[in-house]
Amino acid sequence: MSAIMDTAQIDTTSAQDYALETRDLGKSFAGFYAVKGVNLQVRRGSVHALIGPNGAGKTTCFNLLTKTLSPTTGKVFLEGRDITRLRTAQVAKLGLVRSFQISATFPHLTCLENVRVALQSDYGKSFRFWSPISAVSELNARAVELLERVGLANALDLTAAELSYGKKRALEIATTLALDPKVLLLDEPTAGMGHEDIEPITKMISEVSDGRTILIVEHNLSVVATLCERITVLQHGEVLTEGTYDEVANDPDVITAYMGGVDEL
């Protein structure tokens, strides 16, 4: 019954309601489908979570959305536009930007430079090897503003390598925000973090979600509960169920799938 309704929804709902959408998305590695027949719809302006037990295909799914992997079957749509065959750099220009599970900063650049690199992406001077760096100093104010927003105002001239783990994540978010993305894909934003870091990062994500669509892959279910309006649960590479946190948390299938994770839920 629910399968029929899902199909009907795809046909009738205008693609414009979804910032990000996949149809029958699948990826096989040497015949084994890590992700299979996934129809994911992320509403514009919502914070959507992708969860599931280990090996459920979350990361593969994520990599398909960010174009790190190319799908075996199905299509990916950004704002109704088919982006299945586009490259990472091209989807970034269209406003779909990802973060990385391992902290993705430029360790030898200062915080200011880290963010300025991202701002250079649309500035059109990034091939000027003959210009002094002051040619892009116009970008500094915006870079400082972004760093202030994530609490790094007093670390402008520190190299990224000198930052603590939590601050590296904050720097990464500032760098990502520099592109002013319409859709933000966050890969386990709190992975490997201590309790003291999780709360500020969660708050930061909630702040930046204003006016944006965010899809999060996350293990920490309390973070998911705080942030996300809708949750899709994956298991064995397929969508197990989708709904609000309460709906999903009380779904007997989800509880069975997680087993050991029952307490956490």
């Binding site: 960010t66 790190t68 990472t88 750099a89 970034a92 220009k93 930007v97 990802r98 990385f100 993705a104 900063t105 430029f106 360790p107 030898h108 650049l109 430079e113 880290n114 300025r116 690199v117 991202a118 250079q120 992406s121 649309d122 500035y123 001077k125 990034s126 091939f127 000027r128 090897f129 003959w130 210009s131 002094p132 760096i133 040619a135 892009v136 760098t175 520099a178 592109l179």
Partner: protein, 307 residues
């Protein structure tokens, strides 16, 4: 301010040097300073290990030599022509190799450089095994006679200063910032909407052109061009210079070039043993001075300051 003073002092030393040291030795050092700086631009700032950098160095030497031997074109244009030719080769090499990284990139560049070595060996205009002899030093700007080594030293010095200044400008440009970001984390740069290959192609082209400038100058200094300049041993030597001096620092390759040439000079009396000594020294540098001479000094200064 301090830095300007230091640069001024260095320039005075460089200008006065030929009165105290044999100018040909100084000019050799300057040619290799340019060569090592070009290599450093690629490995230190773009993270690309080119194992055949001598192909750019040696080919430009032949091209410049050939132009000077067969035409009356003034010397500075012949030198720039050689450098441009190498930049063009660099562009071609980049298109073939840029999608690879690490050891694969190193191997592809090594293979192409060996190919170029044999092309030059077989070509008639290079003189094959004998090398290209008696390359004339045509007048500078068509009017100034530079046959004298003391006079020519200043031409080479001017080229070297310009080349190092260019490397400095590239490293501290908007482009340089993106290049360093690619070195640090290429997938991340791509996710920010850049096409990293394009930046790397430009880096390889620029580096090849600068390496060519060093080679072209060397051909005019010694007034002959040989296969040695294209051989893998020279490719290895430039790696040694850069690592010894300090990778990713602007001064490092200059110090490294000076050190290695001085070392070769001193060790040459021991014949074959000089290679073994060179290997041992490289080993020591890698084990104990991982940052190279200049890198270690900078690190010391930083430690003292932060106290």
């Amino acid at each position: 301010m301090n830095r300007l003073l230091l640069i001024g002092l260095l320039l005075i030393v460089a200008i006065a040097a030929p009165f105290f040291v044999y100018p040909v030795l100084l000019m050799t050092v300057l040619c290799f300073v340019i060569f090592a700086s070009s290599f450093n631009l690629l490995l230190g700032y773009a993270g690309l290990l080119c194992f055949g950098h001598a192909m750019f160095f040696g080919t430009a030497a032949y091209i410049t030599g050939y132009v000077l031997k067969t035409t009356p074109i003034s010397i500075e244009i012949a030198i720039l022509g050689g450098a441009l030719f190498s930049a063009a080769i660099g562009y071609g090499v980049a298109l073939v190799s840029v999608r690879r990284s690490g050891i694969q990139f190193a191997m592809i560049t090594l293979a192409i450089s060996q190919f170029i070595y044999f092309v030059l060996l077989q070509s008639e205009f290079t003189g094959g095994e004998d090398g290209m002899q008696r390359i004339p030093r045509n007048d500078l700007f068509g009017v100034i006679d530079v046959a004298d080594n003391n006079a020519y030293y200043y031409v080479v010095l001017a080229f070297a200063v310009a080349a190092v200044a260019l490397v400095y400008r590239i490293v501290h440009s908007p482009y340089g910032e993106v290049l360093k970001a690619i070195r640090d984390n290429e997938p991340r740069v791509e996710s920010l909407g850049f096409r990293p290959e394009r930046y790397k192609v430009l880096a390889i082209t620029l580096s090849a052109g600068l390496a060519g400038l060093g080679g072209a100058l060397k051909a005019t200094v010694f007034q002959f061009a040989t296969l040695t300049d294209v051989s893998w041993t020279v490719s290895g030597e430039v790696i040694l210079m850069t690592l010894m001096g300090g990778l990713g620092t602007l001064v490092g390759p200059m110090v490294g070039a000076g050190l290695v040439i001085w070392m070769n000079d001193e060790l040459s009396q021991f014949g074959e043993w000089s290679l073994i000594a060179q290997g041992a020294i490289l080993l020591l540098v890698i084990i104990f001075f991982r940052r190279g001479v200049v890198g270690e000094v900078q690190n010391l200064v930083r430690l003292v300051r932060s106290r």
